[in-house]
Each structure stands twice: as structure tokens, then as C-alpha cells.
Symmetry: C2
Subunit: 1021 residues, 2 copies
């Protein structure tokens, strides 16, 4: 590893000092700090060095809530108290400076830190600074990789690392990723780790067939080429653990384990040193054959281990001592306390010395199977409502952070923002958003997220008032911005007020249009835009399925609809809505007309703008969609798999459960071959309302100025008859010839190609036809007909499991219940109830189709879809407030009705990924290039963004580029270099930074898929 | 409490310094030491002070062996590792100086100490010295009180306290007894605590009816008058715990418990501070009504708690903090970390201030019942062979210590001696000698004790060689002293050698006669006494039952018998035995004669010397015994109870088990109404050999110069037919009118009166007629006919449960098997096997009868029995050695054949209880007066022993009297004084010491039952 020069170090000190104002940690920083690779216990040349890695895997909620895990309550569910883990590890480390421990989950660490007295804090810092206690990964939680969105992953790392930096300084900066429990691994996550500046990542759960092959070919360690666009910048050394994250059998010395300790009194009849050491050395000897270097990593820990760290360390001390004594007797093994990063550094040293090369991986590790019938693809869909709630959380968190920054809120609002930051960090956890937690824990996640919403609502209310108040000296004009439950069409303000304002904030870096639907009790409303122009509205009755959603507490049976046009980038417009008497001109009552036009097949044809669809009047099913000039025959149905129920005694008896999707048989069952249908033809929208059964209904919706078809479905309560659980899919069947191929996104970012019954890196044996071909669809799944140049894509509003099990088909699992636990730990059948009834889920698919070759107007299909995806991920956020009887004119006098955060919109291929308050007067600004290489003939090129004078409320006085996590200056980051087996040359990370370093002129160049992170100092305008 | 004056302190420092040569602890001693009562956290006036006592109850073996408990192995049996307990407690105490912890079992503490590095040792000492870690009780184990012998209890305390003194110095000196788990409490134990100089003792397990009454009458705390002889000197304040030794329900914060921690983050949905504090204060409020002072002791711990001490202390910290915050809100409770001694001191302060008086207890707490049907009287007999083995251990330990001291062995033999000291300390544990451990643990106790025997055999061999070698410069004459398995008539030397020597060492302080029986393969042997005189022998065939004992590995079918006369006090005689050819004159073959004399009832009458017995020829049963001039009609039979088998779901379903004796019904079943009989009439002895069944046989034996009848029974394997376990008793039925009354000893010392279906301190309701009237018989049970002045006593060779269920009867339970566990924790049915068969037990009862009013020659019946008891407890120990072909003359030339340790015998009423090597050139010497007040008209008077020139091998150069445990100068000991409710005056302990302090003249006066302990410096003669 190349060392920093002195200048670099000085800069670092300054930066860290700045980052650490709120903390005394910075003071202890000096050149003599002994952390980092130089604090590693030395390996011994000529020996196989066995790196003993003491660790505890602390789920941020699973069988117990976060608080229950932290405090150690609810022990009937699980014996686990994180407060005791950190306490006792500190004590054990202080007892012997050779001992090492890693800690991972900043959410817990932070809770613990807040509870400590000065003495404990000082001791903890000492351990961080001498390298005994190493923080690795460092996110707020150990996030899932299948159903998380990259924006939220980056946020949760940024938040965790910021806490670490502020509190402990440089020595707490993580150097490696540690994703040892997530159920499969995404390429995007590897990309994020590379961009965080990490030297490597450690994984565990990979397909059992893959694992076998990698063992036998010594390719458990590899270089992961984590982006198809950012070619060389994204390599990351990846190591797959040998034995889960567990200790070797017989060596679990935890208070929770029953393995015998090492008894080294030769007088004792239970003396077992020889037996134990023999068994351990035999284990590492076998392990050695599966790895390429003379370094081996042994995980010594497990879930919530080290509550009584002494039990572990005393016995590890003895194991190391007695095993190393064998060196006098020609043993070639050398045991040492180590950490994953120290292991990685040793592997790197050996790799450099011996000029080792490493296999290259370009795909991902999905789906994850742990045996023939255990495909972990159920959790792609499990708990669909919390999966959606989390996406709402991300949406609102970005709104909240942006408004906070734009309005220049101060520390008094910090807790309100942090509450949502932390909740979103928690939700990323691999047993949170995944739906693999117990029911009561899911409820607690919802509570946490709701609390975050409420607190950020307070912050946004303050921010909006600040931005919208014409008379900043008069706080009596404060507007009571409120939020609505749009998912169940419930809204206090719109239902109860005769006049109210609707403020719609657009978090995207370019203007958007946005349809607004508000539940109301009356027929007639008029809506004025910020200029006072009365705009078109219509009133639409609500489908019965919405009225019937359990828990909905609203008298509204209809909604008014209007289009908010040209919402400014990072800005808002306020619309004035008032109830009118009598029939007004803009009210449209065209709804529920029978038999509009029919096409030549006898199908009913409805269109809105350039988009049309056809359906069969008799079956009530969709028959085709015309869009972007291409008519594609399509049927869409709801079907279900029956979940397998077994005793989990072996693979063949594995049940379908929270983790596992396993159909009972090879059939998929149709819910109903027919749907009753109602058609609404409005001026702004068209709705085809289908009712498939008393628990499945759907509205297919066309908008007058949109380029997608919306499938807005309501599913549930799933009937519990028939003995098996039911796993509900929606299947879109087209005539496309797709050659077993389909495409899914990776964490909402790059697209990966999937081929049915195939994996790129080994000869696959699939024992589960459906489940084994399921992939996480975080935001998009698509198929292509290469011959005809056609593509069909479905964009989702939340993560779902999806596949294309036959050519031309796309299916997405949207809801599921399971009557048995799948025995992977959660210990509960996944069978969600709400308000005493089976869970009802409402969700949307956004359908896009057309030629992927031809341009459609100025857009490609790709750029259309990118636009939809962004607008659905970061929707314009709708706040409502009563007017307190003020007329439009009166209201406008007192308030700014339109605000732009950006002076000008950013180019279409660049997005402000993050704008948030940072330390003091600085902001964190992240720019991303949203297109992949070759995705779009125009937009896939490099793009320069000029940050000069771009924000309306502040100017940038200085800028520093950092790694993705914003915890290190980019120029200070140097990663360990490993050589690919293939003959490609190494990317020069450091020079690369220079090439792109245009920060001084504030002209930032972005390559396709690149994300660049900056700390900007600002001055208010 | 009265403080020491300066002179006293200086003396103390000197003494401690001397005691602590082997340790650096002494160096840290100074006037500034802050341990003792002054280190207690202060109580708060005007409040109810709630003393939070953090403790761990660490059984020295139970479900796991001692080593398994120490190391924490065999976790499937129990999750318990003492090494971790002490480790983690140290860490927790270091974190907060207000925290307190007590430790009890020195056996574990010592194991731990040996494992520690200097840093840990220093920290531990620091905690001892600042009073945070208080050692209480301080024995090697927490001994049982029912089946232990006072000599061994004193030894185990002496050994434990010596280790404490040497290692940690004064601050580790225990101040109170802590007997919280033994299953009932003896008065003798209270006496020992008083003599150890303790200020009080804490108990737990008392009869549930007693507990109820004491609760309602606020007499859970009392003054225990612990001796009927040493009137005032023996008062000890006694406190019975409130809730077992457990925490209040809901407050077990151990890693082994599932109670919720205190969650004090008000943001948490699980915040529970108010609820927890309410519940705790409610608990103490109820508890308060049962105690007399404004101090309450709350035990916060349980079996093997505090392996992760942090879990406890963190939550106790919070409990104390938040409960005491209520004081601002008029709460009258003040919580503080405390210890039992600090609690006691606070009670004492309050008691003195308020002039409180306390109820007086004069009886004991046996038997212990925990509910209507759970009388803990089974363990009085459970595992009868280990109970005997332990007594052998005591016998040999005394021999070993004495020989060690007399021969002046040095440190090179220390480990050999300590091995048996430690094993005996372990055996006293309340799950060791009690038989309430698991089978594998019993095996380990036997292993430990056997190891102690073997190592002490090495020490005694060295000592005997030193004492017996005429030519000390010639080590080639070393004699290979060996030991035999006399209990199964197996002896390598006597069976295989043509000539061998028998060295018989007498550990009593007066000369004794001793019959020697040696298994041999041939008929004819001659025996020469030390003077060369050929003495009478006879050869007797062995009963078949002995030959059949499983595991016996001997070809011997007969034994030679001779009488070793006048064995010198603390000395030995060596006899020379050689095989002869042909018939020799002294061989007697009178055995197995039929029909000797018959008396007027037609019963067969046999006599030997002054003792005779009669039996019925037809039934084979005993009909009477004549002894001390009185013929008493007696029948003796073996009977059995069938053990109850239930599911233990409630009291009525309690099974008979290792702890509990519970007959299935009110019947007792006769094994056989008849016995076949063989009679052996020898010149030295007479044997009536009875065979009751194929698993019960007995030899009734008369000796020519003994004053008891020996019942030598062999019982087992107990048949397993009939569904229930069988609990075997021997019952002696006489015609004595005993008025429901009988007498049993207390730990082998004072005698307590027992009345059937009666307890002295409450109105008893007995629901178990047999079991509820069982008492521990450690060494003696007797009945008296007050009208006729007759007494019948049975002395035992081991502890047994016994009773007198009808007037004139004595019964003793001698063996038992149970087919069910009694659900008090051991989790195994008590059903012992050895060598693949049900356990066979061999044992002896020594029967004594006569008038308790009239003198018999120069003896009273009492003094006869005292003599028997002592000779059976501390038998002359028989060593054998080959002569290597030396003739008697040749052997005698090279060896001393007779040795006297004492210049003159001690008076009959005084005994050297202990003579053992102490630190450096000092010895520990204990003298005891063996008679009770009024027991014997002559011997019950005070006795002066002149120690001048009493030992043959050394003289006493200085002498210091100490407390019984030898860990404090007696004159420095001051105990806390409490006032009896009754109007008796306080005994002035300090002046008492002065009265008896004749140490300067080496003339020691002993009062009845008094034990005085001295450290003597010696000079070898």
C-alpha cells in the first residue's frame, strides 16, 4: 500500500478536524496514531497465518425490535443485549492488547455511545485508536442487497460513517465491507463499496452450487468488476467466507454456545488442549485447500455473540497459545488475532509479493440458494406494504433534507431530520425491508419510520414556512402544512376544509408535471395555480376496493384530480383549492361509459393522448397496449402459487416462508379468468377498473400527458382456504420473442441481464423452476424482442420478486402469505394482518413499451423509462394546509406560491442525488449520472455540470470531493490493488481523481453511472 | 462496634505479616486499609435501607464436576463457568466503586487465582481492600450441615480461610456465615460460626411452616444459642433470607434469566422505569412487614449468576438510581449496594441505638421441609458409600497431617497433603457428601478423594520412613508402606507376601486397642508384636456376601485377626506377620459351631467377655443384648419403604429422590422375617452371620475386650422389581418406654433431643409420618427409658437418616434407590450402579446399651460411647509393607517398631482435634473438650491440659490462641453484640478470653465442648 505524503496528511487532519467539531475525538489525532493496517498483529513469514476474527453479528431488529436487542429485553424471543456486547468487549480488549474485535452496526454503536460515561468513552476511543477495536463496513445497519435502493444504501452509509467520523475520527473509518448475512449479493453494492473507497468486501451467503465450485477451484476470493459503465474504477476485492460467519464446529466459545472451553490444567480429568488443537488444525488444513494464499480468515462469532466477551477471549487466547506452541513441533500454522481488513492487507501483501492474480466476477450473486429447494426469493416480496413505506421514507427523506438545506434550517431542527435519517438507516437492515422479521418487529419498524415522518414533517413545515412566507418578520402567518394518506385516499385537510392550499415540492433537479388526487366529500371544487389561473379538475368516484381497505378512516368517496404542471427543480408550487356551489364548468362527469370504440378484433379500444389500450369486453382482460407508436398484444392476469408446507427437516421438506419462495407444485393457479369492468373516460385520465374477485381489483390508468400505463392494483386479504399459503403474482404475457432472457435492475441502478435456468459462472442445476429463476426487481424488469426491436418494461413502486418464466412473459410477485415458517430463524409464518384482517396491499406498476431502437420524438425508450423511474422514486411531495378562510388573493399576498431551488434545471442525464445539511455551514452534495454507457445515444455521454450560481438560496464558497460516504477526501483515499487474472490493465484511481477534479471551477464532469460526492461550504444569498 | 486500640492493631499487623509470608498481600496492609465495616456504603437515616446484595451461588460440584463448573464445560448439563464469573465481576466492580459483590467458595476462588496474571491479581486485591469484593463465609465450600462432621467442617473452613489470609490478608477475612443453600441447618454449624468469630450467619432453607410463623411474628432474625454447654460464648445473630437467595420476581438481570432489563430511554416504546420501580418498591414494602429493623437485605443473584456481571450491575445501577430518585417524591426507601455483613452492621447499629432485643433459638432447623410432602430427609442417606468414603478421608487426613507434623516434613510434601485437604474441603459441599449430585459428579468426587488418598499416602510413607528408620542416613532401608481396601477385604501385601509388617498408627491422644483383620490366601500365619512377642491370631473365612461384592478383585477367602494392644497416642506399633507351614498352635478353628448355649426362652445365647446376645434359632433374628450388666430384649430387622413416584407437579405428587424421602404409603415392608444363620465362636471374637436374602446379610460381632456390639451389614444390589424404588432401613426394636423421644447428634458433636411429631418452636403439622420425623444421624442415635434408667444407642460409621417412629425403636436408613427425580434440580433418579450392578453397601453400627444412671466400672455409658465414637471416627490406621525377606530380627534392627508422638496421653475428656503443619515452623494445634456439660459426673468438668513437654519430637517455643479458623488472633476478635429477648446477661467474650488465657504457661483449660485453637511455634527436639 502506498503511504500518504505529508501534505496529504495535513489536509486530512484539517478535514477531519472540521468534520469533528462536535467531538473531542479530533484532538487525539496525530501522526503517532497507531490505527490502520499498521496496527495489525504481524503475520509470520513461512507459516499459514490463521486470522482469528472475533465478531458479533448484531441484527438491527429481527426476532426482537432494535430497542429490545439493544437493551436485551424480550429474552423469550432471543437472548441478546447489544449494550452488554460492547461493554464486555471493551473490558476484554483492555485486558490484553493483542486481542482484536470488529464492530459493524453503527446504529447500535451510537445508542451505546450515548449511554456511556466519560471513562468508558475514553477507553473505547483508546481501543479504536490502537486498532484493537476496528469498525468495519460502518453503515447504520448491514443493509440488504436485493430490495434496497442505492440511494438509501448510500444514505445509510453516509449517516453511519458521519457518526463514526464525528465521534471517533480517522481511526474509526471503515476499510472493508462486511456483508455476511444478507441473502445474496448485488453488484451495485459492490460498486458502492468500491466508491466508498473500501479495499475489499467480505460476503457469505452465495449459492451452494456456486460455493462448491468456488471451493474446488479456489475462487472464493475474486475481483468483482462492479459496474458495466465505470469500467475500472469499480473493481473490488471480494472474499467469500468459508463457514458461514460461524466458528469452526466445536469452537463456539460464546455464553450462548455449549461447546466445551479449553481446559488446560493437566491435572483435570477434562484436560482437552491436545484434542482441541488437533481438531482446529485439522479444520484449517482442509480450509487451506480452498484458498489461494497462506492467510486464512476464521470467523469467531455469531449472532449476538460476545455478550460475555470474556468467555470467548479467554478460550481464544488459549487456542492461539497452544496451537502456536505446536510450531516448536513443526506445525506450519500461525494463529493471530486479526480483523478482516488485517487479513485483507496480509492477502494483499502476499498477492503483491507473489504476483498473484485473481478471477474476475462481472455478474451478481442472485438468487441465493442454500440447498436444492431453498431459493431465498420469497423475501423479494415479503411484507409488501413495509417495502412501499420504506420507499415513501426515502422520497420524503430527500424532500426533507433538501428543504432543510434550501431553507437553511439550523441545529434546532436537527433531531427532526435525524429521526428519519436513522429510521431509514434501520429500515435498510437485511431483516427490515426484506420482510424477514417477526410481526411485532415489523410493527416497530413501521413505528420508527412513522416517527421519522412525523418529525421530518415538523422540519419541512418550518422550511416551507421559511421559504413561503412573504413577511418573514411575521410568524403569525405560519401555515399548518399537513400530509395525507394518499395510499388509502384519506386526507384530513382536503376532506374537511372549504378552501385549502396544496403545496407540491419537486425533489428532482429538473421540472416535472404531477397529477394530484385529493379525497374530498363534495362534488365541486375549483383549483387556482400560483398565478391565479383556474385549472382543469375532475371529480372521480373511488373504487369500492379502496373504500373497503381495513383501517381507512375517511368519509371521502371521491377524489378531485388536477395536473400540477412544470413544478420547478428543487422547488414548489402552491395551488389554491376551494369548494364551489352548484355545477361548475370544469367538472367532468364522463365516467363509466359503456362500449366506447371497438377495434377489428372486437376488443374495446380506449386511448388518452398517444397511449391506448384494448381489452376484451367479455373477459374484462387487457388484450394490448399501444405506446410509442407500437401496438403490442398483451394479456395481464393475477395468478397465484400455492406455498409448500413441510417440516423443514431436510431440503425436500422446506416450506415456503418469509425468506423462501417455494411453490407446492409446478402449477400456477389463476385467480379468475374474468374480470368485471368499469371504464372511466375523463379529460385528464382514463381508467379501466377491473374486479377479479372480492380480494383482487385493479385500475389500469392512462394519463393525458404521460408515457406509461399505470396498473394500480389492490390485493388482499388473501383467502386462507385450501391449506396452503398463496403467493400472488401479476403476469404480463406478450408476443415478444425473448430467448429466455430478461433484465432486472440492481438496487435501482444498473441493469443486469438474466437468462432462464442459467448462471454465468457455473453449470446450474435448478430444482425449483419458478423460484430458481426469480430475481429481485427493485425498480424495473424488462424483456426484449431482439428480432423486432421491441421492449416491454414494468417499473415498480417497491421491490418485488420477478421473473420471465416463459418467453414474452413478465411476472412480479406482489403479495404473499405463508402458513409455515421456513426454519431459517424468524420462527413465524408470514401471514400479515392489519386491523384484524389479512393485509390489503395497494400498489402500482408502470408499464412502458416500444422500440428500443427507434427514437420516439426526442426520447429513446430508455430515457423515457429513466424519467418515469425518477419521477416515481422521488415524487413531487404534496403538502396540504387550510387557508384559514383566506381567499386566493389574500393568501397570495402573504405567501410565496412558487419557489425554485435551482436557478436552472440540470441536464436530463444528471441528477442531484443528495443535497443535505452537513457540519455547520457546509452541505453534502452528490451528483449522479443516471445513464449507463451505451444506454442512450445522446444521454450516455459524459456530462459536465456547472455548479456556479446554480442554487437560488446560497452560493458555493468552497468544494472538496470525497469518497461516496463523505468520510474521507477523495484524493486521500488509496485502495489496495489486486491484479485481475484476465489481461486488463489496472485503473489508476489516483490519477483518475485528478482527471475529474474540476472542482475549482465548479464544473463537474460525470461519466455514465458515476456518482460524485462533495462537501460544499456555502454562503446564503 | 468497638474499635481496636493501637496495640491490638499492631499485633494484628504482625500476625498477619507472619501468616502471609508466602504472599505479597501483607505488604499492602496498613492503617489506611479501608475494608471492613467502614467500607460499607452508608445507610441513610430516616429511610428504610434496602441492601442490594449481588451474589453468585457457585456449587462446588452438583450437576457438573468442580472442574466443569470452573471452566464452564459440559454446558448441556448446566450453563455455568465460574472462571467467567470472577473475571466479569472484577471488571464490573472496577467500573464503579459503589458496586459491591460477595464471594463465598474459596475452592473456586483459589482455582481462579492460580490462573491469573499479575495485573488481574492486583486488581482483585484492590477490590478486596476497598471492600467492593467481600469474601464471606470463606470455607473451601459451602458445606452441608446435616451429614458433615464438625471436624471436617472446621478443617474446610481452616483451609479456605488460610488461603484467603495468605493470599489477600486481613481484608479478605470473612465476618459472617452464608449458608443459603444447605437443606436445613444444624446448631453445631451455628456454634462453629460463633467460634470462628463471626458476627452473624445468614440462612435460607428452613421449614415452610417455620418460615410462615417467623414471617408473621417478625422473627426471621434471631439470636441462636448454639451450644448447650458453652452457654454464652456461642450466641450468634441469625438472619433467614426472605425469598430463597433469589432476586425479587422480575428482577433477575442475569444473562441466564429472561426478565426484562430496565429500559430508561423515554423515547423507547419499551421504557419501563416506572413499572419496574413500582414493582420493586411494592415488594420491599411487603417484605418490610416481616422484619424488625429499617434495613432489608435483597439477594440479587442465584446459582452461577454473574457470568456476565455487567448485565446485572448495569440494571442494578439503574434500579438504585431510579428508585432513589423517588425520595424526592416522598419515597421512604433508600437502595444501596451492600453485603450481608454491611447489612448486619446496619442492623446492629439500629439494634443498639433502639435497644432492640431478639428472639432466642436453642434447637436446630432439621428436618427441612419445603412443602407438605417434601421433607428433605432422603439425602441423610443418599449415596451411602461416598458418605463412608468421606469419613475415611477425614480419618486419613488427620493421620496424614499428624504424621506430617510429627515427622517434620517440609514443603516438598505440601502438595501431597494439600490434595487431600482440598478434596475433603470439596466433599463437605452440600451437593457432595449429601449425595445430591449427578452420578458422574459423584464419580468425580470419588476420584478427587482417591487422588487425595494416594497423595497423602506418599506423604505418610515419607513420614513413617522418617520416624521408623533407625539409620536416617541410609535411605535404602525405605519401607514401601501400602494401604488395603479393608472395606472389601482386599489387600495386595497381606495376600501376596510370605512375610510383611503391619504398622498401625493411632491418631487419638490416648492409647487404644485395635483389632486387625487382614485378607490372606493361606491358613497359617504368626504375628510378632514390636517386642518380638508372638501374639494370638485366628483365621476366619470371609462371608460369601463379601466375596460377591462387585469389583472385589481378591483371591482371599479368609482373614487373619489379631489384637494390636495399647497403641500409643499419636504413635504407632509395627507387627511382623509371617506365613508358617503346618498347623500352628495359635490357630483357632472353632468357627461355625451349632447350638451353643440356650437361655430360658429357648434362645441361643452367645457371649464374649462381658457382652452377650441371644437369638432365635428358628427365625435367625436377634432377641436380646446383654451389656453393662443389663439384658435388653431387642429385635433387629431389615425393612424397606417404597419410594413415591410422582410427576412433581405439585407437593402431593412429589417423588422420593436424592433430596426427598417420601414413602409411597404408610407401610414399611419387611425384607425377610427370617435369616439363615451361622455362628463363629473364636477366641478373640464371636460372629453371628445372618443372611436375610440374596442381597442383605449381616454379621453381628462381639469382641473380647470391647464394649459394643457390632452390626456389620452388606446391603445390595437393591432389587429393582415392584415399580417403586426401595429405601432400606435397619430397625432396632426394644422394650424401652421412650415417650416419643429420641436423641441424635449434631454433626458428631452435641446431642439434641428429638420428639416425634413435634418441633420446639411451632405447632407442627406433619403430613409425612416417617419422613417428617427423620433426622440426620451423623454419628449417633439413642433412646432412653427414663423410668428404668436404660439407654440404647446406635453409633454409625457414616451419616444416615434415622428416627424412632415408635417408642422403643431406633431405625436408620442405610441404602436407597429411587426411580424418579424429585425435581429439586439434580435431574436424575438416584439409582447407583457400580461394576454394572446395583450398588452394594457395607457398613457398621455400633450398639451400646445399659443404664445411663449407674456407673459401669470406672465408666459411664456416656463415656463408653464417647470412646467408641472417637475410635470409630479416628481409627488407628493400618499400613502394610513387604519385609523384602527380612526376618523379624533383621527388620527390627533397621526399623523403629514403636513410636509415641505424645510423651503422655491426654486426659480422657480432652482430644487433640487438630495437629497439622502451618506456616513455616509453626503448627496448628486444636484441643477439644469432648464432653458436654452434665454428660458425665467426672469428665464433664473443666480440664487443664499441660502442653509443656508433651510432644516427643518437638517443643513449643511460643503459642498464640486464635479463633477457630486460625485466621485471627483470638484477642483481636470482637463480635457484634445483640441482645436476647430473654433476660439473660451478655457474655463478655473478651474477658472470657483472658480467663482462659493460660497460654504462657502452656496450661490450657478447656470447658465442656470447648475447642481452642493455637498456632504454636516449635523447635525440633
Amino acid at each position: 500500500m502506498k503511504r500518504m505524503n505529508l501534505t496529504q496528511k495535513w489536509l486530512l487532519v484539517i478535514l477531519v478536524w472540521k468534520f469533528s467539531l462536535a467531538s473531542s475525538a479530533a484532538i487525539s489525532y496525530d501522526e503517532g496514531s497507531s490505527c490502520g493496517y499498521k496496527s495489525c498483529n504481524p503475520v509470520k513469514d513461512g507459516f499459514v497465518n490463521v486470522h482469528i476474527v472475533a465478531h458479533s453479528h448484531d441484527d438491527v431488529g429481527w426476532l426482537k425490535t432494535v430497542d429490545q436487542y439493544y437493551y436485551g429485553s424480550n429474552s423469550d424471543n432471543q437472548k441478546a443485549g447489544v449494550q452488554y456486547i460492547i461493554d464486555s468487549v471493551v473490558d476484554s480488549l483492555l485486558r490484553d492488547s493483542s486481542r482484536r474485535f470488529i464492530y459493524v452496526e453503527t446504529a447500535f454503536l451510537w445508542k451505546w455511545w450515548l449511554d456511556q460515561n466519560d471513562k468508558m468513552r475514553a477507553q473505547f476511543k483508546q481501543l479504536i485508536e490502537n486498532g484493537q477495536l476496528e469498525i468495519i463496513s460502518g453503515g447504520w445497519s448491514m443493509n440488504d442487497e436485493a430490495v434496497t435502493h442505492y440511494q438509501s444504501i448510500i444514505d445509510q452509509f453516509t449517516w453511519g460513517m458521519r457518526k463514526l467520523n464525528e465521534t471517533f475520527g480517522k481511526c474509526a473509518r471503515p476499510k472493508v465491507g462486511w456483508q455476511i448475512d444478507p441473502f445474496g449479493h448485488s453488484r451495485e453494492m459492490a460498486f458502492i463499496f468500491s466508491q466508498l473507497g473500501f479495499d475489499g468486501v467480505f460476503l457469505n451467503r452465495i449459492d451452494y452450487q456456486d460455493q462448491d465450485k468456488r471451493r474446488s477451484s479456489s475462487s472464493l476470493e475474486m475481483i468483482w468488476k462492479s459496474s458495466g459503465s465505470l469500467e475500472n474504477n469499480s473493481d473490488i476485492f471480494t472474499s467469500v467466507l468459508y463457514n458461514h460467519y460461524s466458528p469452526p464446529p466445536g469452537f463456539c466459545f460464546d455464553i450462548l454456545c455449549n461447546d466445551d472451553p479449553i481446559i488446560d490444567n493437566p491435572e483435570s480429568p477434562d484436560y482437552n488442549v491436545e484434542r482441541k488443537v488437533n481438531s482446529f488444525l485439522q479444520y484449517v488444513e482442509t480450509m487451506k485447500t480452498n484458498y489461494r494464499t497462506n492467510n486464512l480468515l476464521i470467523t469467531m462469532g455469531n449472532d449476538f455473540n460476545y455478550q460475555d466477551a470474556d468467555v470467548w477471549f479467554k478460550n481464544l487466547d488459549k487456542l492461539i497459545k497452544y496451537a502456536n506452541q505446536r510450531q516448536n513441533d513443526s506445525s506450519k500454522y500461525n494463529l493471530l488475532y486479526s480483523t478482516p481488513s488485517c487479513y485483507l492487507n496480509a492477502v494483499h501483501d502476499e498477492s503483491s509479493k507473489k504476483k498473484l492474480t485473481w478471477p474476475v466476477k462481472t455478474d451478481d450473486f442472485f438468487p441465493y440458494a442454500s440447498d436444492d429447494h431453498s431459493y431465498w426469493t420469497g423475501y423479494f416480496t415479503s411484507r409488501p406494504t413495509i417495502k412501499r413505506f420504506e420507499r415513501e421514507g426515502n422520497n420524503f427523506l430527500q424532500v426533507c433534507k433538501q428543504l432543510y438545506a434550501l431553507a437553511g434550517l439550523g441545529s434546532e431542527e436537527e433531531d427532526n431530520l435525524n429521526s428519519l435519517r436513522e429510521a431509514m438507516g434501520v429500515l435498510q437492515h437485511h431483516d427490515a425491508i426484506t420482510g424477514t422479521e417477526k410481526q411485532h418487529v415489523a410493527a416497530d419498524y413501521a413505528r420508527l419510520l412513522n416517527r421519522g415522518f412525523n418529525q421530518c414533517s415538523t422540519a419541512t413545515k418550518t422550511a416551507l414556512n421559511k421559504l413561503a412566507n412573504n413577511d418573514t418578520n411575521n410568524s403569525s402567518t405560519a401555515v399548518e402544512y399537513q400530509q395525507c394518506q394518499f395510499n388509502i385516499s384519506e386526507c384530513t385537510v382536503s376532506e374537511n376544509e372549504n378552501s385549502f392550499v396544496v403545496t407540491i415540492y419537486n425533489p428532482l433537479s429538473r421540472p416535472v408535471n404531477n397529477y394530484v388526487r385529493l379525497p374530498v366529500l363534495h362534488d365541486n371544487y375549483e383549483v387556482h395555480d400560483p398565478e391565479g389561473k383556474k385549472i382543469a379538475t375532475e371529480t372521480i368516484s373511488l373504487p369500492k376496493a379502496i373504500l373497503n381497505i381495513p383501517g381507512r378512516d375517511s368519509k371521502a368517496t371521491q377524489e378531485i384530480l388536477f395536473l400540477a404542471e412544470n413544478l420547478p427543480p428543487l422547488g414548489f408550487k402552491t395551488y389554491y383549492v376551494s369548494k364551489t356551489e352548484g355545477v361548475v364548468s370544469n367538472k367532468t362527469h364522463q365516467e363509466f361509459q359503456a362500449n366506447p370504440n371497438k377495434n377489428s378484433n372486437g376488443d374495446v379500444e380506449v386511448t388518452k393522448g398517444d397511449i391506448g389500450l384494448t381489452y376484451n369486453e367479455e373477459t374484462g382482460l387487457l388484450t394490448g397496449i399501444k405506446m410509442n407508436g407500437e401496438y403490442i398484444p398483451i394479456t395481464q392476469k393475477f395468478l397465484l402459487y400455492r406455498g409448500f408446507i413441510g417440516n423443514n427437516g431436510n431440503s425436500a421438506n422446506r416450506s415456503s416462508g418469509a425468506y423462501i419462495f417455494r411453490p407446492n407444485d409446478s402449477n400456477v393457479y389463476t385467480v379468475s379468468e374474468k374480470a368485471t369492468i368499469e371504464t372511466y373516460l375523463g379529460s385528464l385520465i382514463v381508467e379501466i377498473r377491473q374486479t377479479f374477485s372480492d380480494w383482487i381489483s385493479q385500475t389500469i390508468r392512462l394519463y393525458c400527458s404521460e408515457n406509461f400505463v399505470e396498473f394500480d392494483w389492490i390485493v388482499g386479504p388473501i383467502p386462507t382456504d385450501g391449506g396452503n399459503g398463496k403467493e400472488i403474482i401479476t403476469r404480463y404475457t406478450t408476443t415478444l420473442k425473448t430467448n429466455s432472457t430478461f433484465y432486472t435492475d440492481s438496487n435501482g441502478k444498473e441493469i443486469l441481464k438474466r437468462v432462464r435456468n442459467f448462471r454465468p459462472t457455473w453449470d446450474l442445476n435448478v430444482f425449483e423452476n419458478a423460484s430458481g429463476n426469480y430475481y429481485p426487481v427493485t425498480s424495473k424488469i424488462s424483456i426484449r424482442d431482439e428480432t423486432n426491436g421491441l421492449e416491454v418494461a414494468v417499473l415498480t413502486d417497491r421491490p418485488e420478486g420477478g421473473s420471465s418464466l416463459s418467453d414474452g412473459e413478465i411476472e412480479l410477485m406482489i403479495h404473499r402469505n405463508c402458513f409455515a415458517d421456513d426454519s431459517f430463524g424468524v420462527g413465524e409464518a408470514l401471514n400479515e394482518y392489519a386491523y384484524g384482517k389479512g393485509l390489503v396491499v395497494r400498489g402500482s406498476h408502470y408499464f412502458s413499451s416500444g422500440s428500443f431502437l427507434k427514437l420516439t420524438g426526442d426520447q429513446t425508450l430508455a430515457s423515457q423509462q429513466k424519467d418515469i423511474a425518477q419521477r416515481k422514486l422521488l415524487r413531487a411531495w404534496t403538502f396540504l394546509a387550510p387557508t384559514d378562510g383566506l381567499s386566493f388573493k389574500e393568501y397570495k399576498e402573504k405567501h410565496v406560491l412558487q419557489y425554485e431551488g435551482l436557478v436552472k434545471a440540470l441536464p436530463k442525464n444528471v441528477q442531484i442525488l443528495t443535497l443535505e445539511p452537513w457540519i455547520d455551514q457546509s452541505f453534502l452534495l452528490r451528483l449522479e449520472h443516471v445513464f449507463e454507457v451505451n444506454e442512450d445515444p445522446h444521454w450516455s455521454s459524459n456530462q459536465i455540470v456547472d455548479l456556479n450560481d446554480i442554487f437560488t438560496s446560497f452560493e458555493i464558497t468552497s468544494i472538496e470531493e470525497t469518497t461516496l460516504g463523505a468520510n474521507q477526501l477523495l484524493k486521500e483515499n488509496e485502495r489496495l490493488y489486486f491484479t485481475r487474472e484476465t489481461n486488463e490493465c489496472r485503473f489508476d484511481w489516483k490519477n483518475a481523481n485528478k482527471i475529474y477534479d474540476a472542482t475549482k471551477k465548479l464544473k463537474i464532469e460525470l461519466m455514465p453511472m458515476q456518482i460524485r460526492t462533495f462537501i460544499i461550504d456555502i454562503k446564503k444569498k
